[in-house]
């Protein structure tokens, strides 16, 4: 294992995880640059979501290393990983349906994150303004004081992205952010992602190739827990191996 420092935001090396002998991720190496939008594609069961789970600490690796700005993540708790600057959106939109959009954003604001901090947390001008700002960015300004349970599927996806934005992470990981969205919503989301990635790196899992082409700097194709190929979208799209296992003829 090479533990030397790198310039990459995220350096995943020799990462393996096995579930009772089945290797969902197998000796994976992945490097993500500053300000890059990386899209991971691959057939179902390729291990895409598992890779994100491993990075954010939801699943523990069997071996290998994950370094974020040269800090080893594999031994850290989930909340510490988040605090070090990694944000993650889940595949199915996961928002707090019993709270308002504003409260959803406020909870995600990185202040008062421990028990007593949150008990004596006071709302102030900066937080309110920040929440409004993010709400505007994710097109939910008019719904700010509505219950999040009333939002449409696409709006929930945006809200969850907004909840991550307010944390201002350096690495943002999105699992199928446009699933269940209309064509217009997809375009809006692509624009949003472009804007967000100006000052952070983003990893996206996506199936919609058009959307991938719209946002990706670089595409990684996973197959059976291993990297099949990696590169710009046009190269990847025409790779015969990728066509074989994923895109189809």
């Amino acid at each position: 294992m090479n533990a030397s420092n790198t310039d990459f935001v995220l350096a995943v090396e020799n990462l393996t995880v096995s579930f009772d002998g089945f290797k969902a991720v197998d000796d994976l190496n992945l490097y993500v640059d500053e300000g890059e939008i990386r899209v991971i594609i691959g057939p179902n069961g390729a291990g895409k979501t598992t890779v994100l789970d491993l990075i954010c600490g939801r699943t523990r690796s069997t071996q290998g290393s994950i370094r974020f700005r040269n800090r080893e993540l594999t031994k850290m708790t989930e909340s510490d990983i988040v605090k070090s600057g990694v944000g993650r959106k889940f595949q199915t939109p996961s928002v707090y349906t019993e709270l308002t959009v504003y409260e959803n954003l406020e909870i995600s604001y990185p202040k008062g994150r421990n028990v007593f901090g949150s008990l004596f947390f006071r709302r102030d001008e900066t937080i309110v303004r920040k929440c409004e700002e993010v709400a505007e960015m994710i097109l939910l300004k008019d719904q700010l004081y509505d219950s999040a349970g009333l939002l449409s599927h696409g709006q929930k996806q945006w809200l969850e992205i907004g909840m991550l934005l307010i944390q201002d992470p350096e690495l943002l990981m999105l699992d199928e952010p446009v699933a269940g969205m209309s064509v217009t919503e997809r375009h809006e989301t692509a624009k949003l992602l472009r804007r967000i990635s100006e000052n952070r790196s983003v990893i996206v899992i996506e199936h919609d190739m058009q959307f991938v082409a719209e946002i990706a700097d670089k595409v990684t194709v996973l197959h059976q827990g291993k990297i099949l190929t990696e590169g710009p979208i046009d190269t990847v799209k025409n790779d015969p191996k990728v066509v074989e296992v994923y895109l189809g003829h």
């Binding site: 707090y96 019993e98 028990v115 008990l119």
Partner: protein
Amino acid sequence: MKSSGFWGSLFSRHDTLSFVVLALILLVVLPLSLDIFRLSLMGKYMTYAFVALGLALCWGYGGVLSLGQGVFFGLGGYMLAMFLKLESSDPESTAIQTTPGIPDFMDWNQITELPWFWEPFYSFPFTLAAVLVVPTAFAYLIGVAMFKRRVSGVYFAIITQAIAAILTILIIGQQGYTGGVNGITDLRTLLGWNIRSDFARYVFYFVCVGLLLLCIVISQFVSRSKLGRILVAMRGAEDRVRFSGYDVANFKTFVFCLGAAFSAIGGAMFTLQVGFMSPSFIGIVPSIEMVIFCAVGGRLSIYGSVYGALLVSWARTAFSESFPELWLFAMGALFIAVVLAFPDGLAGLYNQYGRRHVERQLDKWLLTLKSSTRTASVKGVAHERQ
């Protein structure tokens, strides 16, 4: 009452109304309408309200169902009972024992020396501290051990139930040290003051109301804080909270400890008002009954859970006085009905049907209040001019 400042940050307008109504009922209506026997019975029911209140936070807000709240109720009660027992077991009044100066049940069990863990309970300040600290610390240990290992939901419920079973068996089995199945009985005085007199009963009743209202204020503070919203968020989407940078286990532990502390206060007040404490308030059956108090009142409602505890306990007494064999049927049906038909309990029914009406009435009332003060002040100004 204006909803501003410190009060306004803790109580919404409707919360204020609920609080005032409850306080009026407990402080004025009940003491004026009930004789001391019934009133002190009410005081006893109120001690269950502490547990139900803790469960509303723990289960309703945090989604953590504990079936072992009796453990904390009992521990709180036992801590105080040990102090009171030592006070009634002075060498003079226990002179007929083989070993005078130790509690009677120890003497019956051929124990000749006070066990070491009883010694500190000669001190009243220590006892008061222990009533709160011991159950809370125990809850903290359980909470940390379980929540850090991500034990939750059903598994947490079953394990807390097992802990309740363990403690009961332990207390019953070690009767020389604990008083066994009878518990610690025959408690007479508190700091030389007869706890069985009518006057004492009145005092305890009002102390109990005061403590309950204090616990409600604390609950309001917690539920209206960001922590309260995090608990609600956690109940629905635990992973999202975790990956927003919160250590979920700590929040669950906190609310579990708070519930334990409330229960312990309830337990201690129980010992004072009823005059004994026994394992029958710790085990599986009482613990799960306390959950039904909370469920009947409304698991999401601070005030609902209090009313639930008072009403169900009162119904139990009423039923078992007149139709003892029907009580279990009624109780069983209550469990089923609450779960199937009214999952949000009485508070849910109220919110659905009564609340709108009350809010409207409150609007009207506040409006007239405002306009009448305005006219009054205008009149005042006019008067000055004349």
